[in-house]
């Protein structure tokens, strides 16, 4: 469902909510009065804009551009006149970035006000007030969108940085393990850990690690991603990460407005790393994050054999996962994530999406 929502979340997309047919609504007055619906008006405005603005456009040309059956010059003449009048104090409503709903309501008011010439002035004042509050509202929303954009970038940067920490930690671990194995002869313990890990259940990482360990080589990303065992692997990161700029890792692709990608990513990496560290068997409802148990403290330094593997592990979260994984993860979304949305949401879609795509790892 979130896929469907995606296109609508970009504020620069054409608004989609008004989807009525393009039939005209005529009243039953003796004088044929056309009902200017929101959608119709929008088309009108488009046409006018296309023609260079209300001052340049003529009813004839508008009619031609709009191409709406049943629309007469008469209709267009009067509407255009009102539009020109209304345009001065209400300039912002002609801005296409305005959300459609608001624009419609303001224009409806404008239309209503302008239709009875006697009350024109009075109504225009009313309109001004409404305009003001609407404009303030819109500005606030624009600002919130700005904030959201920046926040998203910042979190991504943080995620990228976090990744270097994880990589380093893996390297360190590997270093320690190597050292201890060779000098203390505790390598066997590392192997024991590996064996124990093999016994662990579903989590994807383990079979991978197992193989990697056995072959004891640096397995590059390609091999890892080809592995079928990665199937249950946390997909969120990948599909969600589509737009993430991780030049060294992902072939990132489409844009993604959601902000918790980096978190997912890190968690996934963490899952990798944690898995490396010989975590205990506990898995969270079949999720893949493994937490290093207290055993790590005593034997952590002995997991040498896992070390090389971990070099590549954080990179593992590559781009192999397909859309289907995304679906799967979506379904596993944990329930505790709340559904009700706080009052001042800038873009509910983001949160919703984040909820679905993110943080569903061990939190099942």
């Amino acid at each position: 469902m979130f896929h469907a929502k995606k296109p609508t979340m970009n504020s620069h997309d054409r608004p989609m909510c008004v989807q009525g047919d393009s039939g005209l609504v005529l009243t039953t007055d003796p004088k044929p009065r056309l009902r200017w619906t929101a959608e119709l008006h929008e088309r009108f405005v488009d046409a006018v804009t296309q023609l260079g603005g209300p001052d340049k456009a003529t009813p004839k040309s508008i009619m031609r551009v709009m191409g709406v059956k049943g629309l007469t010059l008469y209709h267009l003449k009067s509407h255009l006149q009102k539009f020109r009048l209304g345009k001065q104090p209400h300039k912002e409503f002609n801005d296409h970035s305005v959300k459609d709903g608001e624009r419609v309501s303001a224009l409806d008011l404008q239309r209503n006000a302008a239709s009875s010439s006697g009350f024109m002035v009075h109504s225009m004042n009313e309109n001004l007030h409404i305009t003001e509050s609407l404009r303030r509202h819109m500005e606030a929303q624009r600002e919130q969108l700005e904030v959201q954009k920046h926040l998203q970038l910042r979190i991504e940067a943080q995620g990228k940085y976090m990744q270097t920490i994880l990589e380093k930690a893996c390297e360190t671990l590997s270093g320690e393990n190597m050292a201890s194995a060779s000098y203390k002869g505790d390598g066997s313990q590392g192997i024991v850990e590996m064996e124990a890990m093999k016994d662990f259940g579903t989590p994807v990482n383990f079979p991978c690690l197992q193989d990697l360990h056995i072959y004891g080589e640096q397995i590059d990303m390609q091999q890892l991603t080809d592995r079928s065992s990665l199937d249950g692997f946390l997909p969120t990161n990948d599909s969600v990460c589509l737009g993430k700029k991780r030049p060294s890792l992902h072939g990132g692709s489409s844009k993604n407005p959601f902000i918790w990608l980096s978190d997912d990513f890190r968690l996934q990496e963490l899952g990798n790393m944690a898995a490396c560290l010989g975590s205990q068997e506990d898995s969270f409802k079949g999720e893949h994050l493994q937490i290093p148990p207290s055993t790590i403290n005593s034997t952590g330094s002995d997991l040498d054999s896992l070390s090389d593997v971990y070099e590549t592990k954080p990179i593992l979260t590559g781009d192999a996962m397909g859309e289907k994984k995304f679906e799967a993860s979506k379904l596993e979304r944990p329930s505790p994530r709340r559904a009700s949305l706080p009052v001042e949401r800038v873009n509910p879609a983001i949160k919703g999406a984040a909820l679905s795509q993110g943080r569903n790892l061990p939190y099942g």
Binding site: Q144, Q148, I155, P292, S335, R338, A339, K351
Partner: protein, 491 residues
């Protein structure tokens, strides 16, 4: 259209909305209200037994394993306290009353132990007995929130009893394996907004303050892995064209007494930051300022450059280590004042009104604080969750132990009593307002987590809280007068 989407979202998640707590929001508020109102020291007069019979009361608590018998004993108190929300249990199978009573019993035992340690009827034997009993009932890795929490608190009290909690709180880094620490940190960041809230709020304030500066110098009290600066650098690099990215310099503070591991960590952090800055094109340099244990922090230990905007960053919230001796923080902030920085960003944990109540009062307040933290972490995760247990083990537990130790030593009108924000106000700093952008950012950040998180805007700070309990405050300061003699000069 936005509305349309919202509605759709509501629909989709309606089934999932209220599974996190067993009480309605109103009840939560009510309970929290009660809890805040509840005087830190229990009203012993409410008990059937007189105050002098304290020992008998405790013994009766401990001997009785039957919940209903205990219930009788605590009848009066229980009636006035809504017990259903402070200890929130996810397991609905046992009678809710039972679990709540168990939790309540733990609270009372803890309080009794704290009383026994420091109260009027001070008795270490009694305290010991209570703690032993507690130990039987709780475990840091199993059970409900209250049980796991009580485990750490009783461990803290045990430490006080034995005199084993040193002046310097234990540095968790030295006690846990590096991988554990990193894993726990990652998890903690992902399961809660605490870490990010502090960092992002401070960063935004810094960004706004240095918008026209070409050189920025940040002195960081506790840089840890340097995660805070990644997003700041990103923001600096993407500044508007009229203000190209300034040169950023970060000086990280370490004290030589803190263990060689922490010093090595800082060195690595420096390398990492340098690499990161290079990868995004941010001009950057890193310095480490190593102080001797008793060396004061001030202009003499820093290399300052003319024309740079100096920012002092003091992060004291989880998982930063702040249970170091309060002297350390005070010395740092005093030194900061002498440096005449452009801005000081401070993030600390909110503690409730402490007022009278002495050790027990502050102990109970601390218990309340961390129970709110535990609740907030649980709100997103199932109860028996290893991730939370790890975070608790690596960060929360040690912090609890350190906090209790600090409270114990603090006693009286010392820095332990008031918050650092209050201290700043009286030390020659004046507040700097929080911008709309910053406030908005915080709300957005919280918006991804559970509903229970709240952010409140005060004049110069944002307070992040869980339900009605404030937990973390991020505040911004600037010197209240600018001393020309102390302005930055090259050394």
């Amino acid at each position: 259209m936005a509305l349309a989407i919202e509605d759709a979202m509501e629909l989709n998640f309606s089934g999932n909305s209220t599974t996190t707590t067993t009480t309605t929001p109103e009840e939560d508020y009510t309970t929290c209200y009660y809890w805040n109102d509840w005087s830190p020291v229990i009203d012993w007069d409410a008990f059937p037994a007189a105050h002098d019979d304290f020992r008998g009361l405790i013994e009766s608590i401990m001997e009785n394993d039957e919940p209903h018998q205990i219930h009788e004993v605590f009848q009066d108190v229980s009636n006035s306290i809504s017990t259903t929300s402070m200890m929130i249990d996810e397991e609905p199978e046992p009678e809710p009353g039972n679990e709540d009573l168990k939790g309540l019993r733990l609270v009372h035992l803890l309080m009794a132990a704290a009383e026994a340690l420091t109260g009027a009827n001070q008795s270490s034997e009694l305290a010991q007995v209570i703690l032993v009993r507690l130990k039987e009932l709780v475990s840091p890795t199993n059970g409900t929130n209250m049980e796991r929490l009580a485990a750490y608190f009783s461990q803290a009290l045990q430490g006080l009893l034995e005199g084993s909690v040193g002046v310097q709180g234990k540095n968790y880094r030295d006690h846990h394996h590096q991988s554990d620490v990193v894993a726990a940190f990652q998890l903690f960041q992902d399961m809660s907004p605490y870490v990010n809230f502090g960092h992002f709020t401070a960063n935004q304030a810094i960004l706004e303050a240095v918008v026209e500066d070409k050189r920025v110098h940040i002195v960081d009290y506790d840089i840890m892995e340097g995660i805070q600066w990644a997003s700041l650098m990103q923001a600096l690099v993407t500044r508007k064209d009229s203000h190209p990215a300034p040169h950023l310099r970060i000086t990280a503070l370490t004290r030589n007494g803190n263990g060689r591991k922490s010093i090595r960590t800082v060195q690595e952090t420096g390398r990492r930051l340098i690499d990161f800055a290079e990868s995004i094109g941010q001009p950057f340099s890193f310095h480490q300022c190593r102080l001797d244990p008793d060396e004061a922090f001030g202009p003499s230990v820093l290399k300052l450059v003319k024309g740079e905007a100096l920012v002092v960053n003091c992060m004291l919230h989880l998982p930063h280590i702040s249970y170091r001796a309060p002297n350390s923080v005070a010395s740092f902030l005093s030194g900061a004042k002498a440096l005449n920085p452009k801005l000081v960003t401070l993030v600390e944990e909110e503690m409730g009104r402490t007022g009278e109540g002495g050790f027990v009062g502050r102990f109970m307040d601390s218990l309340h604080h961390y129970s709110a933290v535990y609740d907030s972490l649980e709100a997103g995760l199932p109860v028996q969750d290893r991730a939370r247990v790890l975070v608790e083990r690596v960060f929360l537990g040690p912090r609890i132990v350190g906090t209790v130790g600090r409270i114990y030593r603090g006693g009286g009108e010392e820095e332990g009593e008031c918050s650092w924000g209050e201290w700043m106000g009286g030390a020659g700093f004046r507040p700097v307002g929080i911008s709309y952008f910053n406030h908005c950012q915080a709300k957005l950040l919280l918006g991804v987590f559970n509903d229970g998180y709240r952010v409140e805007l005060a004049s110069n700070k944002l307070v992040l809280g869980w339900k009605s309990r404030g937990l973390l405050s991020a505040s911004v300061w600037t010197p209240s007068y600018s001393n020309a003699e102390l302005s930055t000069t090259s050394f």
